[in-house]
């Protein structure tokens, strides 16, 4: 009947999607996106859609198919460097994990995708959301390499041991992580620049280059001007002087004091 014919068509589409998405050395993005579009239309005709049908009633095969589609879609999005797309498909895949986790067998991509999701949040400095997501992953799974990786990275970032972050580029658990890690390196560099400003009065040029992992002085100047940091790159003396912060706040925070005093007056008046 038509239902099974559609299911078969969807299954074959999924197969071609899988081939396109998992092709080594790099996924075939064009074919994958096309097939993905077709698959989504096919899914619409399924009887059990994630989020609409309760776990007990859902058709397992259809759900498995749907789940794998979204997982592969996520991988394709990462390849295309499409972050909103990745987040969209990730949220769809997440419903499959959480609501139907009891009826479906464990997915092989689950940890990789969860790790990718965490890393994506981290690279965008969405730390609060990072932690909320992390709470959803049971603590025992934190040892899994895909998940341990973003956790460790977050720890290093919080502490400020940036060298560790930058060396961890070599230790990615899966090739799909590379994109986010490179995004992260950019964030790291900004953080290093900020902390150096606060901590050092001046740095020898080559040290600055080494710390920020910038190769030439021109790049450093570009970076400094692009970020409007007010650095003084002194080529002759081979120094980089940072802004002098004379933080002597002599002014009275009048606004705040006024508000506070007024609230005291109001409260005191209320006392009968």
């Amino acid at each position: 009947n038509s239902r099974s014919a559609m299911a078969a068509a969807a299954a074959s589409l999924l197969k071609s999607l899988r081939e396109a998405a998992l092709k080594k050395p790099s996924p075939d993005v064009a074919t994958a996106s096309k097939v993905l579009g077709q698959l989504k239309v096919a899914i619409m005709s399924f009887s059990s859609l994630p989020g609409m049908t309760p776990a007990a009633e859902a058709n397992k095969d259809e759900l498995l198919l749907i789940r794998e589609t979204y997982e592969l879609a996520c991988l394709v999005m990462v390849e295309q460097k499409d972050i909103p797309g990745f987040e969209r498909h990730m949220s769809l895949a997440k419903t499959c994990y959480s609501d139907y986790g009891s009826v479906l067998p464990q997915s092989e991509y689950q940890y990789q995708l969860q790790g990718l999701n965490l890393l994506c949040l981290l690279a965008q400095s969405k730390i609060a959301e990072f932690h909320t997501e992390l709470e959803l992953i049971p603590v025992d799974l934190w040892e899994n390499p895909c998940i341990k990786f973003p956790i460790k990275l977050e720890q290093y970032l919080m502490e400020g041991s940036y060298p560790k972050v930058l060396t961890s580029v070599d230790q990615v658990p899966a090739p799909s992580f590379h994109y986010f890690v490179s995004m992260l390196s950019g964030t790291v560099r900004d953080s290093i620049a900020e902390s150096s400003e606060a901590a050092y009065e001046s740095l020898p040029l080559d040290e600055a280059l080494r710390m920020l992992k910038i190769s030439t002085v021109e790049e450093l100047e570009d970076y400094a001007s692009m970020r409007e940091r007010g650095w003084d790159v002194d080529r002759a003396g081979k120094m980089v002087r940072f802004r002098e912060e004379h933080k002597v706040d002599l002014e009275v925070p009048s606004q705040r004091l006024i508000v506070e005093t007024l609230s005291y007056a109001k409260e005191l008046e209320r006392i009968v």
Partner: protein, 535 residues
């Protein structure tokens, strides 16, 4: 198996109170006739029935006056009654207060009969022949005085009236539910509770709200204990909507708490957060206990989202609003989270919090962690974490404790900064137990940027130099601290004013004055501690 209704009702109406109770008793235990037991032998059954009667009287007042605090008092009596519940007592309660035509009566009776309870008094399923009852009655009647007769009539009239008060019926149903829960008959309990909810909702009376919310509470608890919480979320949400539409404050509060609890059980912090932001907790009418629960849940949510100041404030308030004499388990949990959040804020909880009476054992792992953080010793921290990992995971504080690692480093750095005016980065690295000097340099830089310490790093000589310490009185710091305390006191004053009520009798007034003195004393102590800590 319960004796037929008619056999009880008629002698009941004509007898003096205590004897009536005992009569019911004896009506059940076919074999045991204790005609000599006419003194006020306070057997548990009688005492329980008396309590029930008190509760019913208060409830009647509540219904007639439509004031919610009478109802709250009735609910409070439930705790007292809970300890006295027994199968016979409940059967009698059903007999007395549930009208014979109520749809739920049969259901309750069937639930009760399923419970296997060792009988305290020797009883056999009774079918009191009315003749016997009547015979006893005629004998007694001859001995009664005029006064007693009048009292009985009053009692009879009152009981008839109670039969017309649906709250009484719902109340008895609530007691049955609680009893089933205590006896671990979860399926029955859930069924009883849901029928309670339906029945209470069908009446749509505001005075029923408190009973309804209690019904919801026990229903959800039963569901939780049978592990089906994930399936009932939609129902809870729908119930919350209904409560909000009906302006049922108590119901709203209870249901909101139930929902948050449900989400937190499954770590669905995002959804809990959305719920928290979109809804408003009805602070006016909700009981203190519900407010305490709400503050605890919201505190936890905020802690996960890194809003530590708010989280800490909520958790502290939750600890204060929780009943101080009972609810030890709740307070333990609240304190556990509050300690961890305090550590995450960079403050060290003082010993008195950690060594409270009755909590020392539970809080011991947190004591170890606090010590490690205080000293700034990463190794001790790791050791403590390893040792108590299981406890933390069970308490659901593990993820928060993992975040403490960089707090340890920060505290350590702070201490080094105050101790040394100039120190080699290599030494810093060793003291803190970090991996390499390069790491240390970056970490120090980050801390300086975060304004944790006030220093500069000299890269050439690889040293960290502290800046001269300002006189703290010259800054705005004292004024801000003062403001915090003043705001707190004013807030407390306002809340106390809001909570004031006209005394209904002298005793109640006495209590509130006592409580207020207690609270003032506690606040004063807290202030003194804060003062000692700061300077």
């Amino acid at each position: 198996p319960v004796s037929s209704g008619s056999g009880i009702c008629s002698p009941f109406a004509a007898m003096p109170k205590d004897e009536a109770d005992k009569m019911k008793d004896e009506g059940k235990d076919e074999g045991e006739k204790k005609p000599e037991d006419e003194e006020k032998k306070v057997d548990p059954l009688t005492a329980a029935m008396n309590e029930l009667k008190n509760a019913m009287q208060t409830m009647e007042k509540a219904v007639s006056s439509k004031e919610s605090r009478f109802m709250s008092r009735v609910i409070r009596q439930v705790t007292k009654l809970r300890r006295m519940l027994s199968k016979t007592m409940l059967s009698q309660g059903i007999e007395t207060y549930v009208p014979a035509d109520s749809p739920v009566r049969e259901q309750m009776i069937s639930f009760l009969s399923k419970i296997d309870e060792p009988m305290q008094v020797e009883e056999t399923p009774s079918t009191t022949p009315p003749k016997e009852g009547d015979k006893m009655e005629t004998e007694e009647e001859k001995e009664k005085s005029e006064e007693e007769k009048a009292k009985e009539k009053e009692l009879a009239a009152w009981h008839k009236k109670m039969l017309g008060v649906p709250e009484a019926e719902v109340f008895v149903q609530l007691l049955v539910t609680i009893y089933l829960l205590d006896k671990k008959a979860y399926e029955d309990e859930i069924a009883c509770a849901s029928s309670l909810i339906q029945r209470a909702q069908s009446f749509n009376r505001r005075t029923m709200d408190q009973l309804l919310s209690r019904g919801y509470f026990y229903w959800a608890r039963g569901i939780e204990l049978t592990g089906r919480s994930s399936q009932v979320r939609n129902e809870l949400l729908a119930a919350y909507r209904t409560a909000a539409l009906k302006h049922d404050q108590v119901g709203q509060a209870t249901l909101l708490n139930l929902l948050l609890r449900n989400y937190l059980e499954f770590n669905l912090y995002e959804q809990a957060d959305t719920l928290m932001r979109r809804t408003e907790f009805p602070e006016g009418d909700a009981s203190n206990n519900q407010l305490a629960r709400y503050l605890y849940y919201t505190g936890r949510i905020k802690a996960v989202q890194l809003e530590y100041t708010d989280a800490f404030r909520n958790l502290q308030q939750a600890a204060r609003k929780a009943p101080q004499q009972s609810a030890l388990g709740f307070r333990k949990t609240v304190y556990k989270f509050s300690i961890v959040v305090q550590l995450l804020l960079g403050e060290i909880p003082d010993r008195s919090t950690l060594s409270q009476k009755g909590m020392v054992g539970a809080l011991k792992p947190y004591l170890d962690i606090s010590q490690a953080v205080r000293v700034g010793d990463l190794e001790a921290f790791h050791k403590a974490m390893q040792e108590h990992a299981e406890t933390f995971k069970a308490d659901k504080t593990y993820s928060l404790i993992v975040r403490l690692r960089h707090n340890v480093i920060k505290t350590g750095l702070k201490k080094i900064n105050t101790a040394y005016s100039k120190i080699q980065l290599q030494d810093v690295c060793e003291k803190l137990g970090l991996d390499s000097v390069e790491d240390t340099e970056f970490i120090v830089a980050k801390c300086i940027q975060d304004a944790v310490i006030d220093a500069t790093v000299n890269h050439a000589t690889q040293t960290m130099m502290s800046k001269a310490n300002l006189d703290v009185y010259a800054t705005a710091e004292p004024q801000m601290q003062l403001h915090k305390r003043v705001a707190f006191c004013l807030d407390m004053h306002n809340q106390a004013v809001k909570a004031m009520r006209y005394a209904e009798n002298a005793k109640a007034e006495w209590e509130s004055a006592e409580e207020r003195r207690e609270r003032l004393k506690q606040e004063e102590e807290m202030m003194n501690e804060m003062d000692e800590e700061e300077f």
